[in-house]
Assembly symmetry: C2
Homo-oligomer: 217 residues x 2
DNA sequence: TGTACATCAGTGAACGCGCGTTCACTGATGTAC
DNA sequence: TGTACATCAGTGAACGCGCGTTCACTGATGTAC
């Protein structure tokens, strides 16, 4: 991509070992999440985070090389939770082996993803930061790509189709459209959550009915 | 929303009057667009912008109160161009008065939106900034809401349905899904542009076939 | 059970830097007569 | 056609501030004997 963009270290440094250290570490993440809501990505700083967490800046530097690593840790946590929602949704539909069953509960997975993101302080702000801040983009993109591949494998069995490029693309588009619907409703607080998620679910349902050659509702 | 978030002035100050001033003004916008690509939203500053534009910082302050106003001006320009794409797509389909004609060319409007965003230096970075930076969010949200209302009015005539909340929501979801597809392909450079846009178009098509009670395929 | 010691966790103070912002100013452009 | 003047456009220098980062350090925790 762009070469002029400076490389940023995102790896965490020391892992917290003692109890006290774990509290400090968690305190840093909570403080960062709160500040992401209050002042936004563009104003957050290690100084602010340490202050809010009730520690000094060098204590933060013990665990994170910079502020991006802190946001990255928050992002990894959220991506993991979102992925887990999707994974368990797939699992609970694996037994059925029946496309209709899956199509009937797309709304559920959107709602569960919405809930898990809402539950995390600064959830939507974290997602937006992952999109907008170059050094963090990799995390969200690779997370979506991973989930899409798993989804494509699942669909391959369900629809008895090979895992070719077309299927992977269809899976990826579905995943991204699902997350987009959730993000849309989190970003614009004036929208009716359930209605919008239901429309998003219906869109995905019609798409897959057409792909799989199933009857329309 | 959040009250702790400081209010930021986004209105431009003096409008450029003389020729020289117009060049300076445009130079500021171009420099900002380039820097958005090179260093990202979180590192851009009035100092960097003025430097790149070949002027001193007080010259920038003559036209903009702060860096957010600069990005806001870039964003307004881009939103306007995207809206224009959609407007002219609707217009060229208004004559027909036939849903099938519209459904047949959803890909075209996605591709045209993709092209117009791609054409603008820092196009995707501008969109991401509008999403992630609180004081700029209003611009994108109200732009999407406006386009959705216009679309709902159009659909009302086409499908002979009243402009009720349900129709507005459906229009809004469609608009946001369209933009999301475009943004997805701009954000992840590894994806095949045409294939992804075609899938997005197909998803919207199936959605509206179902809504309008039209035959599939 | 006590204590000496190693390791882990967090502090206080300091640094240089780029940031946003403002000032009084010089220079460029356009126009009235 | 020339020039005086008003307005517009951009400069140089300065400011205080919060930023990221590092240092040698003190204090807390855990453990070997």
């Amino acid at each position: 991509m762009t070469t002029t963009r400076r490389q940023v270290e995102l790896l965490e440094k020391n892992r917290p070992r003692q109890e006290r250290a774990k509290r400090t570490y968690e305190g840093i993440l909570s403080a960062a999440a709160e500040l992401l809501v209050e002042v936004g990505v563009e104003r957050i700083s290690t100084n602010l985070i340490a202050d809010r967490a009730g520690i000094t800046v060098p204590a933060l530097y013990r665990y994170f090389p910079n502020k991006y690593a802190v946001i990255n840790a928050l992002g990894a946590q959220l991506m993991e939770r979102q992925n887990e929602v999707f994974r368990s949704w797939l699992d609970s539909n694996l037994q059925e082996g029946n496309p209709e069953a899956l199509l009937a509960c797309i709304y559920d997975v959107l709602k569960a993803t919405y809930d898990v993101t809402r539950e995390q302080t600064g959830g939507i702000e974290i997602v937006q930061a992952l999109r907008a801040v170059a050094p963090l983009q990799e995390l969200r993109l690779s997370s979506h790509a991973l989930v899409s591949e798993r989804f494509a494998g699942f669909l391959s069995k369900l629809l008895r189709r090979p895992v070719d490029e077309a299927l992977i693309i269809q899976a990826r588009v579905s995943i991204d459209i699902g997350y987009s619907t959730v993000e849309m409703v989190l970003e614009d607080g004036t929208l009716p959550v359930e209605q919008v998620l239901r429309q998003g679910a219906r869109m995905l349902e019609m798409y897959w009915r057409n792909s799989a050659g199933l009857a329309v509702g």
